[in-house]
């Protein structure tokens, strides 16, 4: 499949801090690409480099076969971008979108503004100053701005920030529809559940390095031979963890149930139950749970962390 974005060996330093370390990434055409990572992992830095807002120390970044460094304006012409940043407070929504329309030389600018405002549900507020809008409404204006160009590629940095649940669903549906119409979406987020609902491709970045990358279904499949179990009862966690090496993590949820993750060696659940009970524990309830993208994310990030570290 053709890749719309190709990043090779990209590095970016802020003084002595390595924000991106040898990042290699490809975004296939027609995909919804979820770019995941904890706070400060390097997601925004990558997106800003893609948009020509940051210079980079090493590597190459190509969008639509154009090197971003050489001609950022030509690249920007074909991209709709939503940065995770403040919006100009003194512009009205209409003026803000109108300038985008003018600079993109959009024909039938007025119609397009009207269309995106209806699409995003802000038609009635078009003359309101952006500074007077709520955080969620501002985020909508940002999305409308990104959609103005009818872009082939949409890059969104934390698009669901500040949105209520209904608006979130609306935005996710909108993104799915765009991809159906042949567009490509790259979205960064640390809210895994939402990306899980729509992403076709995933990359996980941690401390400036790509730690997982690929088709969502393949990545999750790789983890399907891992196990995730919900257990209620009286467990001697320390002993269970000590005696069963293939248990990778054990956490308690808000109902005081134990959520146990295992590596791929457990084929029979009864065997696991017996082994746990041998480890000075009493099980009252046991069931297996579905592996989600969130599990994959937590597992991947935890695998990268040393004891006492925080992401």
């Amino acid at each position: 499949m053709e890749n719309i974005i190709k990043i090779r060996n990209l590095s970016k330093n802020y003084g002595t801090v390595k924000a991106l370390d040898n990042v290699t990434l490809s975004v296939p055409k027609g995909s919804i690409f979820g770019y995941l990572g904890p706070n400060g992992a390097g997601k925004t830095t990558t997106l800003k480099i893609l948009m020509g807002l940051l210079q980079y120390s090493n590597g190459s970044v190509e969008i639509f076969e154009n090197e971003v460094k050489k001609n950022p304006v030509a690249v920007n012409r074909r991209i709709g971008f939503l940065p995770d940043a403040e919006m100009p407070r003194n512009d009205s929504i209409y003026r803000f979108l109108n300038l985008t329309g003018k600079l993109h030389k959009i024909k039938n600018k007025e119609e397009r503004i009207s269309e995106v405002l209806v699409q995003i549900g802000l038609k009635k507020l078009s003359n309101r100053k952006i500074g007077t809008l709520s955080k969620g409404q501002k985020q909508h204006v940002g999305i409308a701005n990104a959609l103005m160009v009818d872009p082939q590629l949409l890059i969104l940095d934390e698009p669901n920030n500040g949105l209520d649940p209904i608006a979130r669903v609306r935005v996710l549906t909108l993104l799915k529809d765009l991809v159906k119409n042949g567009k490509t979406v790259l979205l960064s987020s640390h809210i895994i559940g939402e990306v899980d609902k729509i992403a076709t491709d995933i990359a996980i970045i941690h401390r400036g390095r790509i730690v997982e990358q690929g088709k969502r279904k393949n990545l999750v499949k790789r983890y399907l031979n891992h196990g995730k179990y919900v257990i209620a009862g009286k467990l001697d966690i320390d002993q269970v963890m000590r005696s069963l090496e293939y248990i990778t993590s054990c956490q308690q949820d808000h109902l005081e149930r134990y959520i146990i993750s295992t590596t791929g060696n457990v084929t029979e659940e009864q065997l696991l139950i017996d082994l746990i009970q041998k480890a000075n524990s009493k099980i009252q309830y046991f069931s297996s749970a579905e592996i989600s993208l969130e599990d994959l994310f937590i597992e991947t990030i935890n695998g990268q962390l040393k004891e006492g570290d925080y992401a």
Partner: protein, 252 residues
């Protein structure tokens, strides 16, 4: 430079300056009218209150404008410095520049547009207020020669441009407040240095001191004035190029 793109951005930026424009126009108009009235009526007014005062400057159009321009040497420069200290800094600080620069506009086009719009928004009210003062003088006192007035305005406008551009170059690299304070510090240092004869010509402030000569002796632009004018243009151009270059390469 892509002219239609530049003009679209420039129109947008200029419109954003409208409130500042109005406030400055009222401020400058008040200053010019106050200068004219005080020059022509100050002595009479003070006599009314039985205060013994002899106006050192005989009432004339030249004296009125000289007074007004001398005020601008302090207030005008301060206003320009304050008015341009956030031309880039605030947008960079709050990140809204990310929206502006991810539209298909080059950084140079964007920088020139912002800077020009801001400077026009600050200098045009001054020019308009001066014109209002000139009309007012013609209506009530004496019409001052407009060509002389224009020649006297040139160094002041160039000085405003210089100060504005210096603040902007700093504003593209640091916070608004630091940019404003650093500009004032630079102005003080340069103004102090300009007192020394050998480097007087190199100072951007020396030409401004000639407006009194121009105003009192009508238009007479000799070679010395011309050299100083060139010097001031160079002083304005260098930081202008630095601003554009600084914005071109900086991380946002």
């Amino acid at each position: 430079m892509n002219i239609p793109i530049f003009l679209a951005q420039f129109k947008h930026d200029l419109w954003n300056e409208k409130l500042k424009f109005l406030i400055l126009f009222l401020l400058f108009t008040f200053q010019v009218l106050a200068s004219i009235i005080s020059i022509f009526y100050l002595e009479e007014l003070l006599t009314l209150f039985s205060l013994d005062f002899i106006n050192p400057t005989p009432p004339s159009g030249a004296a009125a404008f000289l007074d007004y321009f001398a005020d601008q040497f302090f207030f005008g420069i301060l206003i320009i410095s304050l008015g341009t200290m956030n031309v880039f800094a605030s947008e960079i600080e709050n990140g809204s520049i990310c929206f502006s620069l991810t539209r298909p506009i080059s950084r140079s086009e964007y920088t020139i547009s912002r800077l020009t719009a801001r400077l026009i928004g600050l200098i045009l009210p001054f020019l308009l207020a001066t014109f209002v003062g000139w009309v007012y003088m013609g209506l009530f006192f004496e019409l001052f020669p407009i060509t002389t007035l224009l020649f006297a305005i040139i160094p002041l406008v160039l000085l405003f441009i210089y100060v504005g551009v210096v603040t902007s170059v700093l504003s593209s690299r640091t916070s608004s407040l630091t940019a404003g304070l650093a500009t004032i510090a630079i102005i003080i240092v340069q103004f102090t240095i300009s007192a020394f004869k050998p480097i007087e010509l190199l100072s951007p402030f020396t030409l401004a001191s000639f407006w009194s000569e121009i105003l009192s002796s009508s238009v007479s632009f000799d070679l010395d004035h011309f050299l100083k004018l060139v010097c001031l243009i160079v002083w304005s151009t260098v930081p202008f190029i630095l601003t554009i270059n600084s914005m071109k390469t900086r991380d946002l």
